[in-house]
Amino acid sequence: MITLTIDNKEIQAPEGSTILEAAQKEGIHIPTLCFAKDLKPSTSCMVCVVRVEGLKTLVPACGTRVAENMRVVTCNDEIQKARTAAIELLLSDHIGDCLGPCMVGCPAKMNIPLMIRQIAAGDFAAAIQTVKKDIPLPAILGRICSAPCEKVCRREQADAAVSICLLKRFVADMDLASSSPYRPHCAAPTGKKTAIVGAGPTGLSAAYYLKHAGIDCSVYDDHDHPGGSLRYADMDRNVLPFEIIEKEIAQIAALGIDFHGNIFVGKDVSMEELKSQYNAVLLATGTPEGDKIQANRPGYLTSERAVFAAGGCIGSRNLCIRRIADGKEAALSIQSFLLGGTIAPKPDYNHRVGKLQPAELAIFIEQTVDTVRQEPKTLNGLTLEQAQAEAARCLHCDCRKADNCRLRDLAAELDARQRTFQGEKKLFQQITEHEQILFEPGKCIQCGLCIQVAQNQGEDIGLSFQGRGFDEKIVVPLDKSFACGLTKAAEKCVKVCPTGALAMKK
């Protein structure tokens, strides 16, 4: 055994083990990107650099072996800066969006590309889950949303945006028409209670997500029915029939939400009473006639402890989807307040490539069908065939591994910015010839783990480095196709790939 010190803690580690292994055994966190257990360390990304006393430079913990009396520092300013810079350099050479622009453009941040893929695959049960994860009133919104998502759809650059709103409506209508519409699995009751003032889109949305988190909700409204502006505003009821409002709100009510109609808070019941009876109060009273309520985002806190405010009452909320998003976000904030955790979780890192070059757009178009956009002028919504045909128009320009990408996670963890280092932008490329997997070289960090895996799996041709330096690439030797190179190791290669460079097609 070797005795060494990591962060002033004396520890023992077997001879031949690395600093990373020794630290991990002690529960000391060293971030890694290109490291994979059971594979030879590629010591390439330099995210795991540490300082070893006596050495002139930082060294990668994954490849440096422990030595007697070694003194290691795993975290200080210098190290942190180097780690962030390593990620930022990789990001400066990274091509591809983490999220589809539609999802970024959606105020509720609904995972639109995923929903569309589920529609295309005919998995409507999954599609409604995807929708309701972020939008609790999709049938309603599917009729009235002004669809900011469609304005940023990349397909708009080629012919016309995907009819996202109609697709969402299709999924929601289909669900409502079914014998057992989707209901989220709610967490066990936590014993916490929230009063929500206002049963409009914001209040209903907050109720849905609070209940989902196991927090009881009582919704107070001065009208006799829930729905707020959806129900009481002046609008064309051919576009949004009352029947849809009834049905969709019933789904929320069915989660077990108390609705107290015809109650005017401040008159029939005082704020003080609500505050004493409930653990938290959310004000969602809609567009005020007088002063707006002061509340900060994204916490939605007012100056009064345990009182939150969201939606039209705190500022101009022209888009219904924005009001719904407010409700959801306020619910998250209340949940953190009542159950612990941070109120404003660290935002995810989102890489964005900006406008596509024509050649890049062509790559995406090639993967889709050449059909005409379904315009939302029909009041009947889409048929199943139409919906699937429309879904097939989606370019899938989001990253398939956005939820499973170590580079993205580390970018968030290390507070890396995309544009610290800027330079030559390579063109987006996508290699689709393999039946199961996609390869997007612009997302590759050249760690070579996939090469090792292909070799270990006994691939005959396998993968290989080509060239060197900045132009180095991972390829199948002799310009052969990925189908030839990965006859059996494809899935394992995808799994080991720390970025979205290698991903499953589905």
Binding site: V59, R65, A82, A86, L90, S92, G467, G469, F470, E472
Partner: protein, 781 residues
Amino acid sequence: MTELDLSCVDAIIERIGTKPSDALPLLQAVQEQFGYLPPEAIERLAQTTECKLSGLWSVATFYDQFRLKPAGKHIVKVCIGTACHVKGASQIYEAFQRYLGIEPDEDTDAEKLFTVEKVACLGCCMLAPAVQIDDVIYGHLTGETVGPVLQDFLEQQKHTAAAPARARRGKGITGQARICLDSSCRAVGSDKVYDALKLAVVNLDVPVKVKSTSCPGMSFLAPLVEVVMSDGQIFRYGQAKPADAISIIRRHFQPVGISGRIRSHIGNLIDTLLDDRIGHGPIRYSLSIRDHSVDDYLNQQKQIATEHAAQIDPLDIAEYEANGGFEALRKCLTERTGDSVLAEIENAGLRGRGGGGYPTHLKWHAVQKASSRQKYIICNGDEGDPGAFMDRMLMESYPYRVLEGMVIAAWTVGANEGVLYIRSEYPLAIQRMTAAIETCTRRGYLGNAIFGTDYSLDLRVYAGAGAFVCGEETALIKSIEGKRPSPRLRPPYPTQSGLHQLPTLVNNVETYTLVPWLLHNGAEAFSGLGTSKSKGTKVFALAGKIRRGGLIEVPMGMTIRQIVDQIGGGIEHDNALKAVQIGGPSGGCVPASMVDTPIDYESLHTAGAIMGSGGMVVLDETDCMVDIARYFLEFTQAQSCGRCTFCRVGTKRMLEILERLCQGKGQSGDIEKLQELGHLIQNTSICGLGKTAPNPVLSTIEHFRDEYDAHIQGNCPAGKCRELIRYSITDDCIGCTICAQHCPADAIAMKPYEKHIIDQPSCIRCGTCKQVCPANAVEVK
């Protein structure tokens, strides 16, 4: 395309072997056979040897030497080494492209006659700018001479070389005519002068031995003929031509036979005298030993590694022995112990000459004490720095000395097998070292039972394939093992786990070369030279804007000023010295204000440079320091193996900033970003290439910050950066139309007897007009 005959691939495999470590020689042989690497041939190698396709492909695409597409019939290699760069190599490259009508993203002309490539360094820095076409080197090119050079080359191809005259044998030799046949001397035609001398000796029937020798190092005079009389008196003739041979011989020697005298007599009548009266062609010098320039050049030097320069025939082993060669080795094996040799090396204070300056005895000691039955020795001859050719010259001129040092080292540490790794751009070094190994094996200095002892050592030459990073010891070892040569993290050091995971001693050519002298003359003689921490001598390749350049060996501690002024004779064209670049792409620029810095490891480091392997390029007022930094970083960036993020992406981002600056598109904050990235790359890379890559940038920012600032303002004070300058014609124009005739871009309209005007949008800023103008009426702003 016709189907390939793969039977020759099978023959290659049969000849070379099937082990994974044979990958590189196999690929080299295939390329030799086909001129490129055909996919079918690579596949055949993968099928019939133990080399995996994946490995072969990653190796084949790593090295510059390999081509995956068929090349033209002849390869034009345009040297972009430092000395060539500062003398306009990129304009030469473009001139070839233009002359041959090669498209920007192509490298071969339509008729597939010439392929034009850039090459890191041909090691002919004194001929800068230089190109190599197949095996022929042309020097001192201008954009104008590209056409004539290609025509000359094609013309030469038609004639087969004249059979060399039979040398005079037997007794009665009264003198010698010596000439160096090393690569850079050949490049200026020393081989043709050699043939002419031999012919002259036969025709005149004089008792003279014509001899090829080790390099005198005086590249500025090459080809240099030295006539040595029987009394030891030496006469030197610089920049000799084949036509001079007969005059040179006749001037010093009397023919012995009657027929010879008659021929000589008749010849005297029609011969022109060898003097300054010849008004055309290159200027020629006849020199005696008392000539000041040679005196100054040589007297300041101390020759240890280059002992007997210009005296001994590189491959004549008897001559090497007669001059004390292998005596140090004999003493070691028959009279000394390894420990005593180690102690002597330690007392001498020898430090590695490859760049780092690590104490040699520590390295040797580590291998010596490693408990392994099998150990290796490696000679690192992968000198790849642009602007450096010391190791090439040592291997070409003193192959036996290199080997003697290596055998002593191998014996000291207990290694029985070894490799000389020589970069592929040095074919003559490969040839001579291979021949020297054979001769030494026959003479019992290598192989079994050396000097009758039970010590045995087998050495072989291993040719690199064009990758600068292979000069890094762990990459070099991987290269020998047939793997993709990306450096690995140390420790473990090769002294513990090197070639095939066994203890391995890796030293640079020059380090080994110093050992025989050191042991022969004793540690005190060696440590008597130099400074307190840097002992002995250092060989430098002195080049750039200097009057007398070449290979020099100076005692440590000499100042840069002494080298530039006394040995180099000062700056060309009486320009002002701006800086001296030392250490190549890993080094830095020592500004003129610091030229009193002595040459030793620590002082150079303090000045922001490094000893490196010994490239020393002198820069004058016309050199742009931002451009120099960009040039070096472009080199290292292209040579990065690509493993570490900071080196792979970071050097690219730095280069992009420098390119922006040179194009006048710099932004405020660029310089700070360069420094930030530079420090990060130094602090995180795992090998020497990455750790030192930012040095040229950081050192020029430190010493020439004002030039960087000027570039951000859109000015290039030295008038070098093409996008920031414009050529114009002054009122001094005499209307001779020469510039218009020569302009390759037709940017000057021909107007006899009138002032000419350059059309700025058409001007490609190649500088041809300025070179050809007889009235010096072209100015650059």
